[in-house]
């Protein structure tokens, strides 16, 4: 082993931590099928081989479904029922048997029929049909893998305590449902960026992750020893003994640092010059609430509600949403909980009829979709109004570009309250309504918005994306996604000033706030409320306690006037390092 040199792979750091473990390659793609013909006398045996494979695939899916039902709930696991029904479809199987009868192997016949079916669904003018292509692809892969005797890549096959590092191209919703923290210690993907779904999920689960590795799945074999460094964004395949002991040392140092940070969790978020900040936690998934509530955070600055709709088989009911929101609100026991209404496009909804769009980030999504689908939106608003009786709830609207969107949303909110009142259902009608400031349009009309809302929350990822015209999901553009670009800093500065003029709270709830240099810049720009991933709360608190607002303000003023993102970053980094060396 020592004779072979290790293979370093560089990706994007997505979730911090160092893990040494065995790679588990999850190749969830349609395998190559060799074309072979069989003699007539082999046909009966080939038909039986097909039947056995279909039975085995169904058994496998039943197991996956039961497991998903326990971990994710009945509604989410229903998607596997659909896949089981497809495998048991006699018409589909009949077409495969017909081809086997003509002398094709079972895998060739099944592959041909599934390719035809997937194309038929994918080309349909009807979105309800196009949405099923993912399920058909899952079935295609699962049955072919059985027929070809390929290893079962399903993550659920790993024993508890396997400490595996999952290597995959990308995490699909049905794979995400099956992630088991008891056997998976870290995640690495070819696709993705720091802000993509897999990265956010990894951080919320506390799993170290590296994304954007481009071709890791072609360079690693299952069982390879791997060092994954989610802090640096690197993967070291088949490391040497020296590299292993280095990783061990760093891993121990990180554990020590975490223990020290845990002590900070209870301390107050006060800067070195005595300015008190409000530090809140972002909550993406229900299972994060516990971590968030004990992280030392003063409430939830951003509760995303997309988990309620993405990757599911049907829309959540009002009662189901009410339960979800109430759980978070109760866990925070009177501390503020800011809940953002659905921030997805129609193509992510488990409801048919919506087209896929060539340019979804500039498309029909978020508040636009909600206002055009008032029944869907009002179901969420009613659930929020009902849950609000359990604590301090605030509603936040995403992707607002104009004040009339706020007016329409408020009209629907009031209508929802009247409907609940008419039904005699307990609710709170006077919930503060705020907006996300994440487009240049919202920043430039912030004064008009301020007259109609209770608070602003700056979504840094989208503000950077829309200001710089850089797709945050595009790994090739990762180096051009520069949150410290002077244009972005100036827009934030302007928003903070308008908020102050109108007496509104201005917070920042993007991932940006969890990096020390970003937190330093934001505090310098006058932001006094930050919301970060629960696991980042102690580290940000430590940064806050080490800096002076006056120094940060002076540094960020110079950064705003810097000519380039690199110059702005250099100014801020120098000032921050100076601060931290003086206030360790």
């Amino acid at each position: 082993m020592g004779a072979r040199a290790s293979l370093p792979l560089n990706g994007i750091p997505a979730s911090p931590g160092i893990v040494v473990g065995a790679a588990h390659l999850l190749r969830w793609e349609v395998p190559e099928v060799p074309t072979r013909v069989i003699p007539d006398e082999a046909i009966p045996a080939e038909l039986e081989r097909l039947n056995a494979a279909l039975r085995k695939a169904v058994e496998r899916l039943q197991y996956v479904r039961e497991r998903a039902e326990r971990t994710a709930g009945a509604a989410e696991s229903a998607i596997f029922d659909v896949q089981i029904s497809v495998i048991q479809d006699e018409e589909l199987a009949g077409r495969v048997r017909l081809m086997i009868g003509q002398g094709f192997t079972a895998e060739r016949a099944f592959d041909t029929v599934m390719v035809e079916s997937r194309e038929h669904f994918a080309r349909s003018a009807n979105a309800m049909m196009r949405e099923r292509v993912g399920d058909l692809t899952d079935v295609h892969i699962r049955v072919l893998s059985v027929l070809l005797g390929l290893p079962d890549y399903d993550p659920v096959d790993l024993p508890k305590g396997a400490n595996a590092i999952l290597i995959t191209h990308d995490l699909t919703p049905s794979l995400t449902l099956q992630l088991d923290r008891e056997c998976i210690a870290a995640i690495a993907t070819d696709a993705g960026t720091r802000t993509s779904h897999v990265a956010i999920l990894a951080r919320s689960l506390g799993l170290p992750a590296v994304v954007g590795l481009l071709d890791a799945t072609t360079r690693i074999e299952t069982g390879d020893r791997v060092i994954l460094d989610g802090t640096a964004g690197t993967l070291l395949v088949r490391p040497t003994t020296a590299e292993l002991s280095q990783a061990d040392a760093r891993s121990r140092a990180e554990a020590l640092q975490r223990a020290q940070l845990a002590k900070v969790a209870g301390a107050e978020a006060i800067t070195a010059d005595g300015v008190r900040l409000t530090l809140r936690a972002n909550v993406d998934l229900p299972d994060e609430v516990g971590t968030a509530a004990t992280s030392g955070a003063d409430g939830v600055g951003l509760m995303r509600t997309e988990f309620l709709v993405v990757g599911r088989a049907s829309m959540p009911t009002e009662d189901e949403q009410y339960e979800s929101y109430s759980n978070v609100i109760r866990a925070f026991d009177g501390r503020p909980v800011v809940i953002r209404t659905f921030d997805v496009g129609g193509d992510k909804l488990p409801v048919g009829g919506y087209p896929h769009e060539p340019n979804p980030f500039l498309g029909w999504r978020a508040i636009r979709m909600c206002l055009d689908e008032p029944e869907l939106f009002k179901t969420q608003l009613r659930a929020l109004l009902r849950a609000a009786v359990h604590g301090d709830v605030r509603i936040m609207l995403p992707l607002v570009v104009s004040v009339d969107e706020v007016r329409q949303a408020r009209f629907l909110l009031e209508e929802s309250a009247r409907e609940l009142a008419a039904r005699g259902i307990a609710h709170r009608a006077d919930i503060p309504l705020g907006v996300m400031i994440e487009t240049p349009a919202a920043v430039l009309t912030a004064d008009a918005l301020a007259a109609e809302v209770a608070f602003f929350s700056i979504g840094t990822n989208d503000l950077v994306q829309y200001t710089l015209a850089v797709d945050r999901g595009n790994a090739s553009l990762a180096s051009r996604f520069t949150p410290l670009h002077p244009a972005v800093l100036r827009l934030i500065r302007r928003t903070v000033r308008v908020g102050a003029d109108h007496g509104l709270d201005v917070s920042v709830c993007g991932e940006m706030a969890s990096e020390p240099i970003m937190a330093f810049a934001l505090i310098g720009l006058g932001v006094r409320t930050l919301s970060v991933a629960p696991l980042s709360v102690p580290a940000v608190k430590q940064i806050i306690r080490g800096i002076h607002t006056s120094v940060a303000a002076e540094a960020v003023t110079r950064a705003c006037d810097a000519g380039t993102p690199a110059a702005a970053e250099a100014v801020l980094r120098a000032a921050l390092e100076q601060e931290l060396s003086e206030n360790p």
Partner: protein, 88 residues
């Protein structure tokens, strides 16, 4: 043979999960069962066929059953559709 015209009531229409419920229901009967929407007729025991209907809320569909248990089959199928597949 028996037939009946029904309207899809649940707000999301016959998407994936309702389609699975339909084939689970029809599988219990020996009769030949079909669903027709406009000029598309599909086997109600085939989920691929039922998904191809892409019947949204308000769509009118014709249920047909032919066989020894045709009446029971049609009643059972009409009942799951009328119940909105347990959705809203």
């Amino acid at each position: 043979m028996v037939e009946r015209l029904v309207t899809v009531r649940n707000s999301h229409g016959i998407h994936a999960r309702p389609a699975a419920q339909i084939v689970k229901t029809t599988a219990k009967f020996t009769s030949h069962i079909t669903i027709t929407r406009d000029d598309l007729e599909v086997n109600a025991k085939s989920i691929m066929g039922v998904m191809m209907l892409a019947a949204e809320c308000g769509a009118e569909i014709v249920l047909r059953a032919d066989g020894v248990d045709e009446t029971e089959a049609l009643d059972a199928l009409a009942a799951v559709i009328a119940a909105g597949f347990g959705e809203q």
